[in-house]
């Protein structure tokens, strides 16, 4: 097991002194090269969970280990992809991809070489010298993926990365992400509120309940890829997961 979450909980204290429990007792083991989605309604703390794993926040209780090693802050073995506003607008596409390598002190030539490799992977070679504001939303997220992959992390943490895109672009990027995943065999932890997206992408779906977020159910998706969104089996699983999410919403 690559990534192990053990009893993660998170409480926030508000200004008026009251305490809000965002997450409670999250235990989960993610295998190497596994694609796991965390699904839940807004306010279930799924983003908080991802931020805790990324080292941007610390859990109130619980531990995170990666290959047996305890993780307490940002780990060089993980890279996070945000929903939006994550590219540096003053840097060109290639300079954005080089950012993480620059931080690690890699030489200029080495960086350039590596960045071009990942530009190719996301199909944006011709856009190397463009600036983020010259790109469409889908292209910007491809750049963000390339930047995260460039540092060669073991785990990709993705926080609703396609949430701000239109449906068509979204579907396209989902297919591309699966291609990349199959090529690179990264472990992916993917936060989304879209049932369709989770069923299309994942090996397993972790369904969280609303506040405080607890693991309601873990749904393995056995369907072979590429998955047909209009297929009978796809619809059945989709229905099953949706029922869980809707039940929770109804019982609030």
């Amino acid at each position: 097991m690559a990534l192990v979450l053990d009893g993660i909980s998170k409480s926030f204290s508000l200004a008026d002194g009251s305490v809000v429990d965002a997450l409670s007792g999250i235990s989960l083991a993610v295998a190497d090269s596994e694609f796991v989605s965390v699904l839940g309604p807004s306010g279930c703390g799924k983003t908080t969970l991802l931020r805790i794993i990324a080292g941007l926040e610390s859990p109130t209780t619980g531990t995170i280990t990666l290959d047996g090693e305890r993780i307490t802050g940002p780990s060089p073995r993980m890279a996070m992809i945000f929903q939006e506003y994550s590219l540096y607008p003053w840097r060109t596409v290639i300079d954005n991809i080089e950012f993480g390598l620059e931080i690690r002190g890699m030489t200029r030539e080495e960086r350039k070489k590596r960045a071009i490799e990942y530009l190719d992977l996301v199909g944006l070679r011709d856009f190397a010298e463009r600036f983020p504001y010259e790109l469409s939303g889908g292209m910007r997220q491809r750049v963000a993926v390339a930047r995260a992959l460039a540092i060669d992390p073991a785990i990709l943490l993705m926080d609703e990365p396609f949430g701000a895109l239109d449906a068509q672009t979204r579907n396209k990027l989902q297919r591309e992400l699966l291609d990349i995943w199959e090529k690179t065999r990264k472990t992916i932890l993917f936060v989304t509120h879209s049932v369709d997206e989770a069923v299309y992408l994942s090996d397993r779906i972790v369904v969280l309940s609303p506040r405080p977020g607890r693991i309601k159910e873990i749904v393995p998706i056995g369907l072979p890829r590429p998955r047909e969104r209009t297929g009978v089996e796809f619809a059945r699983i989709r229905r099953y997961v949706l029922d869980h999410v809707e039940n929770m919403a109804a019982s609030r």
Binding site: A54, G55, L56, P74, P76, M78, A79, M80, F82, E84, Y85, S86, L87, Y88, P89, W90, F99, G100, E102, I103, R104, F131, P132, Y133, G137, R140, R147, I151, L157
Partner: protein, 254 residues
Amino acid sequence: MRYQRVLLPIILVVAWEIAALAINNPFILPSLETVVPILINPFSASFTLGTGSLAENAATSIERVGLGFLIATAIAIPLGVLMGRSRALNDFFDSLIEILRPIPPLAWVPLALAWFKIGLTSIVFIIFIGAFFPILLNTIDGVKGVKKTWVEVATTLGASERQILLKVILPGAAPTIWTGLRVGFGIAWMCVVAAEWLPGISRGLGYLILYAYNFGQTNLIIAGMVVIGLIGLAIDLVFKRVEKKWFSWRGLER
């Protein structure tokens, strides 16, 4: 350039000439032909009542502004970055700054004289005061405006505090800081003219136009004013040019 842009200045010059002829009093309004020779001979000392050429006076003023502006920049940017990054430091300095900021730079003149006596230090101090606050406030704004995600991306990629400052905060705040520098320089340039009216000063464009007044040389006053305006304009254009070249991404963050 569209002709509308030069229309009003041309009308003004023509109107000026007509009015000058009608008034026929060079002390109130000298005619164009007494002003132009001064402007087209900026290196000649023969028009300036023995105070050095127009260019020499301009150079003196630019030097003074440059010095005050550089000192203001050197203090305001680091302080602004600290205040923009740290809530505690912001609260610590903020009330003092809010009290000092509305005081016009020229209100500092008597105190400047008391502290630094007559001379370069007093002038530079006034300019410093003029340039300092716009640079500081814009730097704070710029640093606060740096998107949280930009910093978090760097954090997750393993950046140190120093790397975050140099590679995220400063470039992210740069367009707003640049605006502060531009506004600060504009105010500094206004301040130098007035600061050169301090007693004991014997060079500079501000000094020149006041000196010209004492001799009733209104044509020299106007020539001096034109030069003050043109230099201010030229420097502002340089600031704008750089802004367009380097900071065109501002407002297009996505």
